[in-house]
Structures are given as structure tokens and as C-alpha cells.
């Protein structure tokens, strides 16, 4: 802490940590010594204590009913949580409309083969839905779509 003889700005981070008892032992003792000789810092500490006292005086709102009973009712209708869930099948990640479009395209393709023969059949771009990465920004796994270390 700053020399108590010379005027200084109180170190609010240390004062706050001191108030909460979160400084290490040596620093805590150093602060005690400093506070005894530094009225400005002692005054700031008194304000922080007053603030804590004011928080204690805030109304203690309560729910006013038994949430457990309400949740029990909802849980009774829900399956128990399981630690091991089967991995979702990849087509489960596709929206229904995309699946329907793929089925329709596949059916059209098979039909054209049966009717007109395979030689003249144009390449069907829509079959690309079966590529490794599906269109529409769908992700088969987090590594496919999100770069690591993007947080913060």
C-alpha cells in the first residue's frame, strides 16, 4: 500500500479485497497497518462497508409458492435424464424440407433412368445434399463450422 504519510489515491481494488477478506495474509496485515494511519483510505473502506450493509437491507423477495411441486409435475411427464444418449444420426440434423427435397430429387433421378436411360441423364446438382458438408450452413460437428479460440 502507499506510504501513509504522503497523500495518495486510495487503492479501491485492495480496499475492496480487504473488505471481502480476499487478500493474502501478508497484504491483509499490511492493509490493517495502513488503514490505521490513513484517514482517506479508512473513509473509503467505511463507504464500502456501508454499501455492503445496504445490500443486506435490500428486500428479500421470495417466489411465494412451491416451485418444487410445480417442477415435479413437469418432470413426471418428461423422461428421466440419461447420462448416455445415443448419438444423433446425421440425417437428424437435416431439416425436414431438405430431406423431402432430396427424396423428390432422388425419385426423379431414378424415374428418368428407368424411362430415358442413363446415358442422356443430366448431372443432378441437387444430389450435392449428400456432400460431406450439407448446404445451408448446417454443421455435422463443431469442428466443421466453428473455428477454435473464437471466444473472447
Amino acid at each position: 500500500m502507499t506510504d501513509p504519510v504522503r497523500p495518495h489515491l486510495p487503492d479501491m481494488i485492495r480496499l475492496s479485497g480487504y473488505l471481502d477478506g480476499e487478500l493474502d495474509g501478508a497484504t491483509q496485515r499490511e492493509m490493517e497497518t495502513h488503514l490505521a494511519a490513513c484517514p482517506p483510505c479508512a473513509e473509503r473502506l467505511a463507504e464500502l462497508r456501508a454499501l455492503t450493509a445496504a445490500f443486506d437491507a435490500l428486500p428479500q423477495d421470495t417466489l411465494g409458492f412451491d416451485l418444487a411441486g410445480m417442477i415435479a409435475g413437469r418432470l413426471a411427464a418428461a423422461p428421466r435424464p440419461s447420462p448416455e444418449r445415443p448419438a444423433p444420426r446425421w440425417w437428424g440434423l437435416l431439416p425436414a424440407s431438405l430431406g423431402a427435397a432430396a427424396a423428390l430429387t432422388l425419385g426423379t433421378g431414378i424415374g428418368s433412368v428407368l424411362i430415358g436411360g442413363g446415358a442422356a441423364m443430366p448431372r443432378m446438382a441437387a444430389m450435392s445434399v449428400f456432400d460431406t458438408l450439407p448446404p445451408g450452413g448446417l454443421c455435422l460437428g463443431p469442428d466443421s463450422c466453428y473455428s477454435k479460440g473464437a471466444r473472447k
Binding site: I13, S16, E47, L48, A50, L51, D61, T62, L63, L75
Partner: protein, 178 residues
């Protein structure tokens, strides 16, 4: 940990604390009630993933906090000002907390000013003050709940205290530099 009667006991034990925290985060009672319920339902579903080495209360408040932040984002009321880069390391002006007699803050009328000042804080400051001042969490538990470093907790709490006192003084019509 999987049986429902045991979980219901946990709900009864924590329901008011979780509700109060969420209420002071979102400010609307009905919404806080819904979010408290959502928190416990999410906790129940996530129980298989809970690690016994993590404190249950810390883990539960993580879920409650996320629910509150999601609600605030939906309302677009969230303050996205980041306090983790830069300001934490800046000096805090202690003039922002110029003398504030204890008896003034103890006054019920002044408690309303404190609630107002608290509501006006950025979310990052409000949540950390709630966890410290109302939940009496240690810095380590706050760090785990908010997924930040203990050093950041230390500086952010100090900054939040200075800020809430500055807001309080502002509403009380006082000025630091009078």
C-alpha cells in the same frame, strides 16, 4: 442424484435464492419466476453432466445466470460493454465514492436509490455484485460461476462497487467534485 425427490429438495433449498438473483438481473417478477423454473428444469436435464467436484450452488447459478442473460439479450437490454479488456487494469477514481455516511445508506428511502443504481449498472457489474453482496460467494466461486479469473473478479467487484456508489450519489443529487 438422479432421483426426483432428491432434486425436489434441492429446488426447495435454492428456489428463492435463484429467483432473487434472476429478479435483480432481469427486473421483472413474472419473467424471473419463469426463468427460475426454466433454470431448475435445465439443471435437472443437465444433472448427468454435473461433476461432483463442482459446487452444486455454483453450477446452479451458472445456469440461472445464463437464463437471465438470454432473457436480457432477447429484450436487447443487455449492455455489451466489455469490462475484461482494459478498464479492469485502469486506476479507479476513488472520488467516485466520495464520503457517503453509513446512516444514509441504512435509510429505507435510500435503499430505493441503491436498487435504482444497481439496475443501471452494466450487466457484468450487476451480476458480480449480486453474487458477492447478496449470495456472499467467495471470489473463487464467483470466478467459477462467471468463468473468469479470480484476479478479474477482484478488480471487477471493486469497479462495480465504485460504479454503484457513483450512480447512487448521482441520484441522491450529490456530486463528487462539489
Amino acid at each position: 442424484m438422479g432421483d426426483r425427490p432428491a432434486f425436489e429438495r434441492l429446488v426447495r433449498r435454492y428456489q428463492d435464492r435463484v429467483f432473487r438473483f434472476i429478479l435483480r438481473m432481469v427486473g421483472i417478477r413474472d419473467e424471473a419466476m419463469d426463468l427460475a423454473q426454466e433454470t431448475f428444469l435445465k439443471a435437472y436435464r443437465a444433472l448427468p453432466g454435473w461433476r461432483p467436484e463442482a459446487r452444486f450452488s455454483t453450477w446452479l447459478f451458472q445456469i440461472a445466470r445464463n437464463a437471465a442473460l438470454d432473457a436480457l439479450r432477447r429484450r436487447r437490454h443487455i449492455d455489451f460493454v466489455s469490462l475484461t479488456s482494459g478498464p479492469d487494469e485502469e486506476a479507479i477514481d476513488p472520488c467516485d465514492t466520495a464520503p457517503l455516511p453509513e446512516e444514509l445508506l441504512a435509510d429505507k428511502q435510500r435503499i430505493g436509490l441503491l436498487e435504482r443504481a444497481l439496475r443501471e449498472l452494466p450487466v457484468e457489474q450487476r451480476e458480480i455484485l449480486l453474487l458477492r453482496e447478496l449470495e456472499d460467494m467467495s471470489y473463487a466461486d464467483i470466478a467459477a460461476t462467471l468463468n473468469i479469473e479470480v484476479g478479474t473478479v477482484k478488480s471487477r467487484i471493486a469497479r462495480a462497487r465504485v460504479a454503484v456508489l457513483a450512480h447512487y450519489r448521482h441520484h441522491a443529487g450529490e456530486s463528487c467534485h462539489d
